[in-house]
């Protein structure tokens, strides 16, 4: 059987890739995808713990994380669309009115 560490390392790798995407990419939608990657990696580690401990609570948590992820996707993309309508761009370095 695959030990727990393997799943955790995989999850950590996915999380780091997601963080890299959030800080590096210019396009807000790709930043968004990276956030989904991070959520997925956390879900993976939760499921791994749940399975290795024999405790289904982790699966419940993942269930609610998915609900929040769906709500976040709906509202977040709506914000990006509203942003695009006002500024004609989704590049986050060009959205800088609040900067001084």
């Amino acid at each position: 059987m695959i030990p727990l560490d393997y799943y955790l390392v995989l999850s950590a790798f996915m999380f780091c890739v997601g963080v890299l995407g959030v800080v590096v990419r210019r396009n807000a939608i790709i930043v968004f995808m990276s956030i989904e990657l991070m959520l997925n990696s956390v879900n993976l580690s939760l499921i791994a713990f749940s399975s290795f401990l024999g405790d289904p609570t982790g699966q419940m948590l993942v269930f609610f994380v998915m609900t929040v992820a769906a709500a976040e996707a709906a509202v977040g993309l709506a914000i990006i669309i509203a942003l695009f309508r006002n500024k004609q761009t989704v590049n986050i370095d060009e959205i800088n009115i609040l900067k001084w």
Partner: protein, 118 residues
């Protein structure tokens, strides 16, 4: 328990294999004589009016949002339905509350005209 997933994996592999092979096969074997008529966008026999690569309307987005939210609702319904008899009236009332809250939003959006298509 894992052995019961082997057919699924085989099915997945067969599906991917078939998709790739069939796509590539007709590229290799079929004759290529493209002309303007053939490469134009297929619109059920009509003349294509504009490019298909333009921005979509926000109306589609609203439908997609409603789809994903009710998708989540169905996901919540399923584990309840599996335990329907065991949970009895209590679970039924809980689920009615859950669905009512969601439908309040749905009817609000409907009244606001967010789904009007013209």
């Amino acid at each position: 328990m894992m052995a019961s997933y082997i057919p699924l994996i085989l099915m997945l592999a067969a599906g991917m294999f078939l998709a790739i092979v069939l796509l590539k096969l007709h590229q290799w074997l079929g004759p290529h004589r493209p002309n303007d008529e053939k490469t134009s966008t297929y619109e059920s026999g009509m003349e294509p009016i504009r490019s298909a690569r333009e921005r979509f309307s926000v109306k589609y987005y609203m439908v997609a949002v409603l789809f994903i939210l009710f998708d989540i609702e169905v996901i919540f319904l399923y584990p309840w339905a599996v335990n329907f008899r065991a949970l009895g009236l209590f679970g039924y009332v809980e689920m009615v509350i859950f669905i009512t809250i969601l439908f309040i939003g749905y009817f609000y959006i409907l009244r606001k005209g967010a789904l009007k298509w013209d």
